[in-house]
Symmetry: none
Subunit: 418 residues, 2 copies
Amino acid sequence: MIKNSLLKAEVITIGDEILQGFVQDTNASYLGQRLTNLGVEVLYKTSVGDDSDLIEKAIGVAWRRANLVITTGGLGPTADDRTKKVVAKVFRRPLVLKNSVLHKIREHFKERAIKMPPLNISQALFPQGARILENPLGTAPGIFIQEDDKLFFSLPGVPVEMKSIFETNIEPILKQKQKGGVLIQKLLKTTGITESVIAERIQGILKEFESIISVAYLPEDTGVNFRLVIKGCLPEEGGKKLQEIEEKIRKEIGDYIYGSDEETLEEIIGYSLLMKKKTIAVAESCTGGLIGNRITNVSGSSVYFLGDVVAYSNELKKRLLQVSEKILDVHGAVSSETVRAMAKGVRKLCGSDLGLAVTGIAGPTGGTKEKPVGLVYIGLDSEEGTLWEERRFSGNRRMIKEKIAQAALDLVRRHLLK
Amino acid sequence: MIKNSLLKAEVITIGDEILQGFVQDTNASYLGQRLTNLGVEVLYKTSVGDDSDLIEKAIGVAWRRANLVITTGGLGPTADDRTKKVVAKVFRRPLVLKNSVLHKIREHFKERAIKMPPLNISQALFPQGARILENPLGTAPGIFIQEDDKLFFSLPGVPVEMKSIFETNIEPILKQKQKGGVLIQKLLKTTGITESVIAERIQGILKEFESIISVAYLPEDTGVNFRLVIKGCLPEEGGKKLQEIEEKIRKEIGDYIYGSDEETLEEIIGYSLLMKKKTIAVAESCTGGLIGNRITNVSGSSVYFLGDVVAYSNELKKRLLQVSEKILDVHGAVSSETVRAMAKGVRKLCGSDLGLAVTGIAGPTGGTKEKPVGLVYIGLDSEEGTLWEERRFSGNRRMIKEKIAQAALDLVRRHLLK
């Protein structure tokens, strides 16, 4: 726990669906993380439904026990969005119409060639004296009220809008208030290695530095991430210590670590391809387009990503990827022979430097004793020849697809490391 | 919101990792759902870290404002598990050793051939007069304290253990208290229509049935879902009422509603394609494989999904999809002419009944004044000819990709409705 923070926060998430558990409260976890990273002590998180009285009481309780209160949700135009009225009441400030906001809402609808529904006018009402925090991604701006040394923020519940306002408008304010007491930490991201193997390999290092470091493991379907947190150091000294510890850890874990913090595997690959001036094309089967989708989540990927053939049918594997009838007959669509032919075929078809291919059984049906659900072959063709791997994954259909895509992208990463 | 419930609940989840957002608070959403389905009005959910003072305050606040309080977490044997001591303090009951529990903990370790660590003795201590709720899956039992008509439960934080105790020991108690007032609800899913338009169209219906229905909106990037909840009815009567209201709502919203509850758009399309014995192939550009990925998330999609060509480069658009040089030169890759040619081309290439194509600018770079980021063309070719749409979407790269994929799948759904 952070204990020396000037800011003591409570996060309030508003909405029946969150309270009743029908949607995961990702806003609360996002804000918990961000505030913790800023060195803010988070005292409480509270969820409350779309009920004006209960929201009012929750904000009242929070305003007494914390000096930083952030609410999310209840700023939309429909009748179940009540936050703004409650905020006006709690802070005893009447709602006034902000013409600049009304203008922006009108523009928003005009751009989309939709007539503005009258309900949206209410989105231009704000508690008197509140600062308006612009929302570039939606029609509900955030609200900022400061009284003495206490800060109150109200944000929309749509996660991307909430995050955008938080990062653009709120973080700079909090950073200034915190005066540099930022937490020193780093998230290391791995794939292909288990949590217990990581723990074994780094236990000596953790022992050596146990007075200043703590580790939290965050296992995901596609790999294990772990967070290093430096405690009880001044920023500069802590930064150096973290670097020293990270270097030691990297020696133990090696290239299972593919990136850190916000980096994604597809970004890492994209960067390597750019640096090496190489292009890639993909041939997918069971993953259905997921690999191409991930590669193209990176802005600027059109420079190195030429295309993707999802050959779900054998017919397309033959016709587009030049997988021979004989290979398919003798070895089957899920085989090392097929994946190698697919990788070669798509590289030739697209004229790329690398050809990546996968073929497997995502399930839940389609498995046999010899070729069970989760079996997959991954191939990578380049001028140096054709690599391939056989892997087995467990889980439901979507998990298996995710794991296959991750393993395929990791094969590309490791190839580019050389 | 449930308003006529005898039980008014607050859920308190305890633990630094939950508070700081490094793990999702799945216990809170589980309990929120379970309680709601039992007809219990959930007033608040609160999260608090591993800090005795703050836990004590949180339980104190909850015990004043609710008559059913459930805590999870902090019952384990390690030093950061403080809940039991706090409970003893709040309820002014000394901790006493329960020999029956100690015996079971000893057995638990014996079965696993592990020596019981002395720390685990503390798990046999309980507030005087509390009822012990057996934990068949772990060493920390739950605690139940009743004072007057108010109920307090403390459960371990490990989700499987918490769920097991809740379902075995707590639900029967709550059901008896609630006397059969189970919740009746349905989630309707839409795309292509805004929250405020839905609200306007159904406001008359909601007015007519306001004594028994409530609505919660769940806007997502790809469409607006809304949940209908029937309150204050007996199960059978409530079910009939819900059906009646749903029919009226469907008349107002029409085929913007694509499904309900757990159904996804790709499942709906898959079902239609199966029923009509049609096949589909996809040509993607800016979405990079996302559409194929979604279609193939449905188990059994190999029956109707033949393949997907992600033609990121113009070269592939020409070579594989037979988009002519002239069209690309005169109209550009992002144009209605190109998308129509792509849809025709992929249908011919794969020999499918339907050919779906998209081409657009996902951004954040690559936009121009005439063709801004978010502009997309969607085409659908079939034996009846070629449909196409021009759409504009806002957001970041991933959001735009998601919105385009949703609009493209929805075009298929609407075509299949005919």
